[in-house]
Amino acid sequence: MMQAATPSDSVPDGEEFERFYREAWPGAVRLAGLLTQHAGAAEDLAQEAFARMYPKWHRAEHPPAYLRTTLVNVCHNWHRQKTTERTKLPMLAEPAATDFAFDELADAVAALPYRQRAVLVLRYHDDLSEAEIADALGCRPGTVKSLASRALEQLKKGIEQ
């Protein structure tokens, strides 16, 4: 989960952003990787999100949420535009984490439409509430529920085949 400092009036904007960047960077890379299921693009997309956020830093009243929303949008754009073959996200080299069923689930997650996968990542990895996910995706809470329900049904179908 992304967690980082919030702005305060006593620190200049530049230093404050740099501190936020340092603290939020690892989480942003992980979230980009999970959203896209593409390890190779994660750092670039995280950098992209910070670059977009930088000129608007003084207006970001809740930087972690602002970064999350920006990252979701950047990854969505990348997902729409990508024409290259998806590189499967690497798994940990732990025997327990690489069983066959686990790989099936990873394949099914990677095959989901972007917004469905984003809802699952934000809910089950970032532990966000329905309202927070709705804010990050720019949709209504009811749509989050619908996307999550649809995604879980798709996963069940995918891993049972």
Partner: protein, 341 residues
């Protein structure tokens, strides 16, 4: 496959995401403002990086493309929701009127007070939506006023005889601000009728007020109003916007109750203009884990692909499996922003 239950699938998802996240090294990086000076500079920096390593080359190209496309999309992106301005003003006309396929809300006066300002949703565009669940529904209102994106959200539950409100929220679209988050059963009302009364809720310096609120959820499907055949089809929403899916129920027209066994029927979905939105029948053959028994073992559902901005008409048809005869048909609107995801 080992994920047999909903809970197990959720647990395995958390486990999968955790394992994938741990696969990323916990790198640190210092910020440099130079790359954000312009798209050209960013591009140049990435070209230099590309000469150092080929590992992330494809991702880099895609990310630069994403930046350009993202900038172009700023002006064109819009909310993929139906806009229904409130009706107000004239004598005898409710001050606010919000209506979806499942929920209807009228009130003689309505406002939210927060941050020293009063939000009335008048003279602005209000986004009205409902999540059409089997035993839970919502009414979601969203509008911009005083530079704030304000939201009022009702969650409804029902049993065989009554419906009621089980959550009310009034909040702005900022995570750090408090709002009204009120859970608990309210307004229990027999199915088929509306709750009526004044409502005034305050929490965290936010106040939500309705004068003479008339609120009805789990409304009797319009398809049952003047049936011309033995069965009617009830689409879950009208219009369909960003949800990506549409479901429908086959109802016995005389009783307006759902046909429990759908084995004897075939279903088709179609779009009048597939260049705006495609509608592909994709049934679900498991009961909804969240629905209250008895639940149908089959749900009539279709995927909606939004292809281009515009509006088109969707059709769902039920046929008798043995004879092929049409037993019910229904149309619904699809409002597309052109976002295919």
């Amino acid at each position: 496959m080992s994920a047999k239950t909903h809970a197990e699938l959720e647990a395995r998802l958390a486990e999968l995401f955790d394992a994938q996240a741990r696969a990323f090294p916990d790198t640190r990086r210092e910020w440099s403002a130079v790359p954000v000076a312009s798209v050209a500079l960013l591009d140049e920096q990435r070209k230099r990086r590309r000469t150092r390593t080929t590992l992330g080359a494809l991702g880099t190209i895609a990310a630069v493309a994403a930046l350009v496309v993202g900038v172009m999309n700023i002006g064109g992106s819009g909310k993929r929701v139906e806009v229904k301005p409130p009706v107000a003003g004239a004598p005898g006309v409710p001050a606010v009127h919000f209506e979806t396929h499942q929920v209807k809300l009228d009130a003689d006066a309505f406002f939210v007070e927060a941050y020293g300002k009063r939000f009335t949703a008048k003279d602005t565009r209000v986004y009205v939506g409902t999540d059409p669940g089997d035993d839970h529904q919502t009414l979601e209102l969203e509008w911009d006023e005083h530079g704030v994106n304000m939201r009022v959200y009702f969650s409804f539950a029902a049993d065989a005889t009554d419906w009621w409100v089980d959550q009310i929220r009034a909040y702005d679209n900022k995570a750090e601000n408090d709002g009204i988050y009120s859970s608990g059963e309210r307004f229990r009302t027999p199915l088929g009728s509306a709750f009526q009364g004044d409502v005034d809720l305050s929490q965290h310096s936010v106040r939500l007020h309705f004068t003479n609120l008339r609120l009805e959820a789990f409304r009797r499907p319009p398809a049952c109003a003047n049936p011309t055949s033995q069965y009617v089809l009830d689409p879950s929403s009208d219009p369909v916007d960003s949800s990506g899916a549409i479901s429908a129920r086959l109802l016995n027209a005389a009783t307006c109750t759902e046909v429990a066994n759908l084995d004897g029927y075939l279903f088709e979905f179609d779009s009048s203009d597939p260049t705006i939105a495609t509608i592909t029948y994709d049934p679900i053959n498991d009961p909804d884990p969240a629905c209250a028994a008895p639940c149908s073992a089959h749900r009539i559902r279709a995927d909606v692909g939004l292809k281009a901005p515009g509006e088109t008409t969707g059709t769902v048809i039920a046929r008798d499996k043995a004879s092929g005869a049409v037993v019910a048909t229904a149309n619904f609107r699809v409002v597309s922003s052109g976002d295919g995801s």
